[in-house]
Symmetry: C2
Subunit: 389 residues, 2 copies
């Protein structure tokens, strides 16, 4: 089992263990809701309604790449109510394009807003598959660190002012960061946009976690979206991952450019039956109800995980950073050896504790380009799969 | 209207007119079934069954990028029954990976089997969006002509033996070609595979039309699939386009490499509810029944179109090539001016006849790299939207 999980993790095919369920193993390695957090009945009902109420066979015809007008209208209203905005105003239909989820959305953005060989600035650490996705597109990554307040924008500025290299894209997870759980501060967000304007790069926010702040009382203000920003969001983290349906928010020119993508023009956007079902979940309030439950539940599970770390290892050995939202908990180990078979070195290498049957994501895997992390031996953990006591 | 359609056609956003239905215009420009050829009831029933019979919320969880084992097993059996084979034997589960349709499948293949700057050999003429898709990926196209028997493989061999340039990919529509309607002969197919082995390129067959031969009596033998071939197929042309679900057939090594794609690893494959619904349509025989009807109907509509051309223009002016299957009819005009407002020059430019309210695909649009076709003034036509008399 150890070998299996190790090889799964090293080949990045961790998704497998989630969907096919490796028996006896709790998978903390990917950010996904546990089966008990998927509102199957509500989704079933939305599909049934979409199918029975819509007698037009064109629901099954090629779909507009940006999504139908009714879908985008409902989505725009929902996102505006959830404090998203474009240039300070409401998100409008023309600020939106449907995607096949954030990963395929990122492929489209990388293709259209960068050329092969171009530079993309990536956070360190970042989502463990981000580097592979950019590499597949022929892009080169430059790393900039993150701390308690998100991307170190001063470091970015220092680098930009000292070099003639000009990045095409900057990739950031601005809220409830994967894997550090931190949020980009408002000051830094503003400064980042100023840098994008000055140096002519596009900011790509991979932002599926903004809607998952545990308590709205402590939510940092939403990250700004301007013509220099493309914000990718997804129903994967707020509804269920397997629909492969998300959105991008951007300026009208950005959305228009997305519409020129050859593959999207050729095949069209996500299936009409999916957008019709999700539109119903937005319009009938099911998505809002589910989000309320999900935020509360993820917050409670995060606390359970935090306490378990404290109790199991003691404050001198391991600690979890309190998170304000999202799926990720960042745990640090201060000793080289924690328990027999549960060493930091072992965890770094194998992503799995053989005693506990737990799959982790070592922070070393979240570093682009360099497979060995230089910093502390931290781990990204996902509370979505921990059941509350 | 003329300006609207012209601008739609020139921006390649012809899909729009199909889904949103420009009133009064028959759209012959894209290969898609008319609304009356979409089996909405059967598809509705398959979704309803997938939803009600499957109580496991993991149907909505991240999906395996290659598709679930039951889906691939059913698909392998179906394709084998339809005379597809791999290396002369039955298509097996491990020869298959699910795709989000042929266009996004082509993006994945282009990313993994070619580097930016690499050469891809493309047929001339070819699918009007193929060039844009390769260009978006940073690939460079080299054209090789097609004739009555498909790709001119001797021309390809001549070019390969006279240059040190080595293509990474060859893109071909082997059966019921878009837009010429021709099929690659068996001799040429065999020779093409020999060339791929000798010169080390991968053949990508864009093959959604093989299953649409009007009469199985006249069907040319299926094109061979070996480790040097990736064959892309889709439910878009044989069931309905808006599911965004297709497959690729290839050698086990090829399929394994597809599984290393960063974006597919990250987001997983097509929605489980889609693959579950389509699996049911395969298993319960609905897809086979529909295919039988579709082949017959497309064949009849093709004949209607052929006769209409003969009657309207006369044999001295315009002619349709008889097609053996698929969606495409290739019409040639021998005179520079046919009727007032219906000139070959006008058709080349505008894709639309203002008198008839018909949207065509000028063959000039099907040439990669060179926007003005050098050859005869031919047009790709789609019989799917013509109603039988």
């Amino acid at each position: 089992m150890r070998r299996l999980l190790s090889s799964m993790a090293s080949s990045s095919r961790i998704v497998f263990s989630q969907t096919e369920r490796a028996p006896g193993v709790i998978n903390f390695a990917i950010g996904t809701p546990g089966p008990d957090l998927i509102p199957k009945k509500a989704i079933d009902a939305a599909f049934t309604s979409a199918i029975s109420e819509n007698q037009d066979p064109l629901m099954y015809q090629y779909a507009l790449s940006e999504g139908t007008s009714p879908f985008r209208k409902s989505l725009a209203k929902f996102l505006t109510e959830q404090n998203f905005s474009y240039e300070g105003g409401a998100v409008q239909e023309e600020n939106l394009s449907a995607t096949f989820g954030n990963s395929l959305g990122l492929v489209t953005v990388s293709k259209l807003f960068a050329k092969p060989g171009d530079i993309v600035v990536v956070e360190d650490p970042t989502y463990f598959l981000a580097g592979k996705m950019f590499q597949d597109q022929g892009l080169r990554c430059v790393r900039v660190g993150v701390d308690e307040h998100g991307l170190k924008v001063d470091d970015l500025e220092g680098w930009l002012s000292s070099t003639t290299v000009r990045p095409s894209l900057l990739y950031s997870i601005p809220r409830h960061h994967n894997p550090t759980s931190r949020c980009l501060s408002q000051d830094r967000g503003d400064k980042l946009i100023a840098l994008a304007e000055k140096y002519g790069f596009k900011i790509v926010f991979d932002d599926p976690y903004s809607l998952l702040t545990y308590s709205q009382n402590v939510a940092p203000p939403q990250t700004r979206i301007t013509e220099h920003v493309i914000s990718l969001g997804s129903f994967s983290k707020i509804l269920t991952p397997g629909l492969r349906l998300g959105w991008m928010i951007g300026g009208p020119k950005t959305i228009e450019k997305i519409g020129t993508d050859g593959a999207l023009n050729s095949g069209g956007g996500p299936a009409g039956v999916l957008t019709e079902a999700v539109r119903r979940l937005i319009d009938n309030g099911s998505l809002n109800l589910h989000l309320e439950m999900l935020r509360k539940e993820l917050g409670e599970r995060h606390k359970v995980l935090e306490q378990a770390f404290e109790e199991e290892f003691g404050p001198g050995v391991a600690s979890c950073r309190p998170a304000l939202g999202g799926y990720f908990t960042y745990a640090s180990f201060k000793e080289a050896s924690v328990t027999p078979g549960f060493t930091t070195a072992g965890l770094r290498q194998h992503c799995v504790d053989t005693n506990a049957g737990v799959l982790f994501m070592p922070v070393a895997n979240c570093a682009v380009a360099d497979p060995i992390a230089e910093g502390e031996g931290g781990f990204g953990l996902v509370p979505g799969l921990v059941r509350a006591r």
